[in-house]
């Protein structure tokens, strides 16, 4: 705690590793960015539940014999989803997301969305297949309520916003980095030279990806690039140009994956803007010569010429 106070006062950097880590994790960031991010994250619940992963609802029709509850579901002793529980959960989740989108009761509504969405995910993944694109999104749902009130008009930075945004950024990076770790753990370094992309295209290719099946060398080069980028993902946490290039590369990677094999990690993508200076959206509306210049030190902030 000492470390944080010293940094906030701007006197000197804290000494201990734990102190420095704490200070870094709660380095103040714009509150307005939290408000913008909420406007992406909470409405996304509607898209996710009603459109892109609408198959979750169908689990209400599946007999309990095919329900394979995950550890968390067993720990909490949650009932098997059925034709009553699933619609009730759905309505509750969408209602909470609607309230959270308006920005009212940010803590209570946000906490409700987190709990109900996590439950919804246990309904989704307790039938024999777990998806892996939701960690950062769940972290976002968990930490966004902690900031309390936030408006896109806010002009100040806060440690609460910094802590929440940093947590989301770390979760995004962890997803990339640990997916490289998982490749090494489950397959080993030979993942790079394996036929993983060939198989993926054989199963769910497209007009764009199918011709690649004849170029195994190119596929291996792509596989090597993927692992290298995943291992380099912690660079995303470096403010400035590295971060902007990194976010752009991540966006291109996800777009290419979608065009090639029709797989898109939407919940994860919704979290990527946590790296972007969203708070400047409103400042730009008022013109770059606004009465208050953006604070220095904001990742990606461009200081207007004197």
């Amino acid at each position: 705690m000492d470390g944080r106070e010293v940094t906030a006062a701007g006197v000197q950097a804290p000494r201990s590793f734990a102190g420095r880590a704490t200070a870094w994790w709660s380095d103040p960031m714009p509150t307005a960015r939290v408000a913008w991010l909420r406007l992406l994250v909470y409405p996304f619940v509607f898209l996710d539940v009603l459109v892109t992963t609408s198959w979750v609802r169908a689990h209400g029709d599946v007999p309990a014999a095919l329900h394979r509850p995950l550890a968390l579901g067993r720990l909490l002793d949650l009932p098997a989803p059925g034709p009553v529980l699933v619609p009730v959960l759905l309505v509750g989740l969408l209602g909470a997301a609607a309230v959270a989108t308006t920005g009212r009761w940010p803590r209570a509504a946000g906490a409700a969305v987190f709990v109900l969405y996590l439950w919804w995910m246990l309904v989704a993944f307790s039938y024999g297949k777990v998806d892996h694109d939701r960690f950062a999104y769940l972290v976002a749902l968990a930490v966004l309520p902690t900031v309390g009130r936030a408006s896109t008009r806010d002009r100040q930075d806060s440690e609460a916003a910094g802590w929440a945004l940093r947590s989301i950024q770390v979760a995004v990076v962890a997803t990339y980095f640990l997916s490289a770790v998982a490749k090494l753990r489950y397959v080993g370094p030979e993942w790079v030279t394996s036929s993983v992309l060939l198989r993926s295209i054989a199963r769910r290719g497209s007009a764009v990806a199918d011709p690649l099946m004849d170029h195994q060398g190119l596929l291996v080069a792509l596989q090597a690039t993927i692992v290298l980028l995943e291992l380099a993902s912690p660079l995303l946490l470096r403010a400035g140009r590295t971060q902007r290039i990194g976010v752009a590369m991540a966006a291109v990677f996800h777009l290419a994956t979608f065009v090639g094999v029709r797989i898109i990690f939407l919940p994860h993508l919704v979290c990527l803007p946590a790296f972007l200076p969203l708070e400047r959206l409103r400042r730009r509306e008022r013109g770059p010569e606004g009465d208050h210049p953006p604070p220095a030190g904001v990742p990606g902030a461009v200081t207007p010429p004197p």
Partner: protein, 130 residues
């Protein structure tokens, strides 16, 4: 800090069961240069005597879920009755299913080249009242 530690443990020794803290195994199934690509299909006969190919959404499941529970279906063919029940819930307007056959279609990969040869085998079967 706690979440971070659990996440690292999850990635090191956890399984999908640890969701949301399990390992991020996107595209981490073994993909040797030579091997097999498997596609699971469900064939059924309904009460009107019509043969139907059942798509996973017809029984409230995703393709990967059907594949994920393949070993269970193989060990307990009676579980297919639950699949037939799910079909009746999803399609209350259609005649119910009286028999189900879970099949897998296999294509070989040799040195990273997909062969045209397709082989099929039955994983498990169920008939109503048996």
């Amino acid at each position: 800090m706690v979440v971070g530690s659990l996440l690292l443990c999850g990635s090191a020794v956890g399984t999908d069961d640890w969701f949301p803290l399990g390992p991020f195994r996107m595209f981490t199934n073994r993909a040797n240069p030579s091997g097999r690509v498997r596609v699971v299909t469900l064939e059924a006969v309904d009460a009107a005597g019509r043969a139907r190919t059942i798509r996973p959404p017809d029984v409230g499941l995703r393709h990967a879920e059907l594949e994920g529970q393949l070993p269970r279906f193989q060990a307990q063919p009676a579980l297919l009755e639950a699949v037939a029940d799910a079909y009746a819930s999803v399609h209350p307007d259609r005649p119910p299913l009286v028999s189900l056959e879970l099949r897998e279609r296999v294509r070989r990969i040799e040195d990273n080249v997909l062969s045209d040869e397709v082989s099929e085998r039955t994983v498990s079967t169920w008939t109503v009242g048996r």
